[in-house]
Symmetry: C2
């Protein structure tokens, strides 16, 4: 990832990565130092975690979730993992094996939930049954299962591996629509409220290139493949657009995201509709909702009643062979 | 610009252009109707012009400025043109000829100012003398000369041809930096204030593809070439990034720009530093400034003292041969 002969900015040893936005190269040791510092700064700046918190990390088997779990354990946090089996064919099978192996190798506790065996559906079937994009049912399922597992397991906080690229792309999407309600909630910390657990994103100061490098130098075996049914979604288009800007002006992605948090988010405080008023309780599961039956219970009902749909049926057209 | 056999949405005649953001094709007549309506709507929505205003149109010889002049004349406005000779080699020579021919053919009055003969410098020389990007000296020179010509000529308002693509790209740049001061001034109307004339942008509801089509169907001969020394600037990078989004989701560029005006601009009202307080008068030219000598007088002093620099010396590296 670095040019031949380039040297670490800190110790002048041979570099393993160049980071244009820092205008520097780093060796394996000082890359790790940079990652640790950026996570510690994010946790401190936004009051994400206390030393004695019981932490539940949402683990997908990809680089970001394994990196944040590794970083938190190394920093001394009491952190278990939660893996949700989404039923996205071989991609899910392999990601489950990778996550379990990571936990086993380190003696960590991984809670697992499986959509098909525990709730009677999977993401391809939910997408077909609802007639919406797969990412919609997938996101809803994961959010609700993370929340439920955290509350039932007595965890203080849910950690997700969202990195700077993820958050900048979501911010870009919300900005393109000037969705003031979403923009007002675009923070790396969601406080516990209405029966939902606190949720935090300790990697918002690290790019996906940096979390991949962390895994590489730490010998973490992660699933490199991206979700096959997410290919071509709008989120990835936003990432590409920002990457083209970043390539010409290194640092603009971080300036975009952190500039928003510094200068715009304070102007939007209290403008999120979700922060106003008390929520009702879902008639079926008893969890917080704005309606009578929550979106998740409605999804489960619709998707579990549908015949199972194989992943090949919901692949973006150009991925089908 | 349209597919063979496609028909106008309005009259079913053969179409000359397809506009994905309107999900429709148009014939020459109904394309013109669309352009006229969009301009009238922009003028009305933002109270840009009154029927008896004396209007000064900033004319570059490109499609946008000739289109807006043509549209305004056709709509019955009393509009003269102002052309500023920037001294950017053959590009400027040709743009001056095109602008003059447009005026002569229609019996319109074109005021001309020439940086080299009237102020002793040109844009390539100013860029070299100041050590900044050419677009910086060019923008400052044009803004000041438009203002001056409008005030001295007794015009009520300066019109520029900025289109939706221009404004969306500027908004995108300001958003990437979350420059709240600039964002708060990102309106298609700048009211007259502090001795500066009112400035308006009647084409903010039309894309550059639509203004080009207007010129095409109206038989307007415009300079197709873009400014050779602007190639590769950040503004063009922002346009490309937005174009890639627009290609996947037609209409997102208009939603981005007009969504900002509708939902975000009201939240930022009064946050522009420029709107606060009275300005001083420049010691040299007497025009409004925040310092003792205005930026334009300082530019003229620096640039006019420098030996003339040919345009070839300031071309982006990949354009030099």
């Amino acid at each position: 990832m670095a040019h031949v002969g380039s040297k670490c900015r800190v110790c002048k040893a041979p570099a393993v990565i160049d980071l244009p936005r820092h205008n520097a190269h780093f060796c394996a040791e000082h890359l790790q130092q940079l990652c640790r510092r950026q996570m510690v700064k994010a946790i401190g700046d936004f009051d994400m975690l206390s030393p004695d918190d019981r932490v539940l990390v949402a683990v997908s088997g990809g680089k970001d979730s394994l990196a944040v779990w590794d970083l938190l354990i190394e920093a001394g946090y009491d952190a278990d993992g939660l893996y949700v089996g989404l039923g996205i064919g071989e991609y899910s099978d392999e990601s489950g094996r990778v996550a379990q192996r990571f936990a086993d190798d380190r003696g960590l506790h991984l809670v697992t939930v499986d959509l098909r065996s525990d709730y009677g559906y999977d993401v391809p079937t939910a997408a077909t049954a609802t007639g919406r994009v797969p990412c919609s049912a997938c996101g809803l399922s994961k959010r609700r299962l993370f929340d439920r597992a955290a509350v039932e397991g007595g965890y203080d906080v849910v950690v997700t591996g969202h990195n700077l690229d993820d958050e900048a792309a979501v911010l870009f999407g919300n900005t393109l629509r000037w969705d003031v309600d979403y923009l007002a909630r675009q923070m790396p910390v969601l406080p516990a409220a209405n029966g939902f657990p606190k949720k935090v994103k300790p990697l918002v100061r690290l790019t996906e290139r940096e979390t991949a490098a962390w895994c590489l130098v730490r010998g973490i075996d992660y699933l490199v493949e991206e979700c096959p049914i997410a290919a071509g979604n709008k989120h990835l288009g936003y990432k590409e657009a920002l990457n083209s800007i970043e390539a010409t002006s290194p640092g603009s992605k971080a300036a975009f995201y952190h500039g928003f948090l510094d200068r715009m988010a304070p102007l939007l405080e209290g403008m999120s509709g979700a922060s106003a008023g008390e929520l009702a309780r879902c008639e079926q599961c008893g969890e917080p909702t704005t309606g009578t039956v929550c979106a998740f219970c409605r999804l489960v009902e619709t998707a579990a009643a549908h015949d199972p749909v194989p992943v090949e049926m919901v692949l973006p057209k150009r991925r089908r062979r």
